[in-house]
Amino acid sequence: MARRAAQDIPEGSYVNLGIGLPTMISDFLPKDREIILHTENGMLGMGPAAVGDQIDPDLINAGKIPVTELPGAAYFHHADSFAMMRGGHLDICVLGAFQVSTTGDLANWHTGKPDAIPAVGGAMDLAIGAKQVFVIMELFTRDGTCKLVQECSYPVTGIGCVNAVYTDYAVFRIADGQIAVQEIFGNTTVEELEQLTGLRLRSTAEPLGTVAAPTPG
């Protein structure tokens, strides 16, 4: 999933990779493309994780893991960092999810359990900020429940904000509140996917990358 999503990140993109699974994408970014990584805690030009003597407690990523800086990196304060998101300057943001709805609603910050301690971090800002939001997630939970849903049952992070979903079964694209299957892995058909997910799906050959930037606020 991470490998497939990485292929859809074009040369010259400014990209934010969310915590967890999305972080893995950095390992799969094509070496011949210059892609600039943003981290919400105030840096563009983030390099790989720091090891050994490179570890510096003042240089960490959003997951608070020590990282490195690449030539051309820049540091800035938190309000600037989130202005880059909210202002639609980031090209792509890649996030994990509990659920994504067929109209692009995202649920990834709260399980909704009454005893859960809520923590949102930058999730809501990321969800609505980038020009395109990619989600990478397994299509089903461990108990077999589909995570692509008609309507999110978990508390939402953002409304209609997801543009593409990279799963272990297929790549889905969401545009104008409609979901379509862009690519299926293996021999599964769209009809079989409809049966597995219980959703009405259609296929598309439309390429990614045609979504308009959010209106600057």
Binding site: N41, N61, H77, V156
Partner: protein, 230 residues
């Protein structure tokens, strides 16, 4: 001659009173003004409202301040972490009030607090449970939520170098909330690793101009423990 330099962390926080709102810089441990927090712990002011991105890691710094029962309310974006056991316990026991704010909204509310902006419309959080009851408005076809500025009595921040005028530069991602909180507090207290003569910081590179800073204190500095989780 102006000199904002204070002899010790203890002297820098001595007048913080019970019931104060205190912004504390840092993203996890990066930029956390640990010596100033320790001094506040020692000083004992209680019933505090604390503004921070997180809610303490491990048992030191902000976590120790919570453990000591000095904090009534915390305004933050990401309290739950692998090592936030102190916060978790107090929150579950109902001993700590939490105002949870999306991280970018938190940063912008603090920036607004220092910039004389009472509130702003942001798209972040629209349609989510975090903004229930807040005023919304559709502007040019997009939905926004009204968020209000945050200001404070004190800010405790960590910078890399400072001078007697309060000019500050930071180090790497330890900058995070520091410049914003300096502007939003009546009294901004910066701990620095190094105090230099006025004129030694390149004016083109000053990140926080001294007008925002009331006190500068040099601390010996120690490596912050690394923690994980957003």
């Amino acid at each position: 001659m102006i000199s904002k330099i204070v002899a010790s962390a203890a002297a820098a926080v001595a007048d913080i009173r019970d019931g104060s709102t205190v912004m504390i810089g840092g993203f996890g441990s990066a930029g956390q003004p640990i010596e100033l927090i320790d001094a506040l712990l020692e000083q004992g002011a209680k019933d505090l409202t604390v503004v921070n991105n997180n809610a303490g890691n491990g048992t030191t710094g902000l976590a120790a301040l919570l453990q000591a029962g000095q904090v009534r309310k915390i305004i933050c974006s990401f309290p739950r972490q692998v090592d936030s056991q102190v916060f978790d316990g107090l929150y579950r026991a109902g001993k700590l009030e939490l105002e949870l704010v999306p991280q970018g909204t938190l940063a912008e509310r603090i920036r607004a607090g220092g910039a004389g902006i009472a509130g702003f419309f942001t798209p972040t959080g629209f349609g989510t449970m975090l903004v229930k009851g807040k005023e919304t408005r559709r502007i040019n076809g997009r939905d926004y939520v009204l968020e209000q500025a945050l200001s404070a009595d004190y800010a405790l921040i960590k910078a890399h170098r400072g001078d007697r005028l309060g000019n500050l530069v930071y180090r790497k991602t330890a900058r995070n909330f520091g410049p914003l909180m300096a502007g939003a507090a009546s009294v901004a207290i910066a701990q620095v690793s190094d105090i230099v003569e006025a004129g030694q910081l390149d004016p083109e590179s000053v990140v926080t101009p001294g007008i925002y800073v009331q006190r500068v204190v040099k601390v010996a500095g120690r490596a912050a423990p690394s923690t994980q989780g957003q």
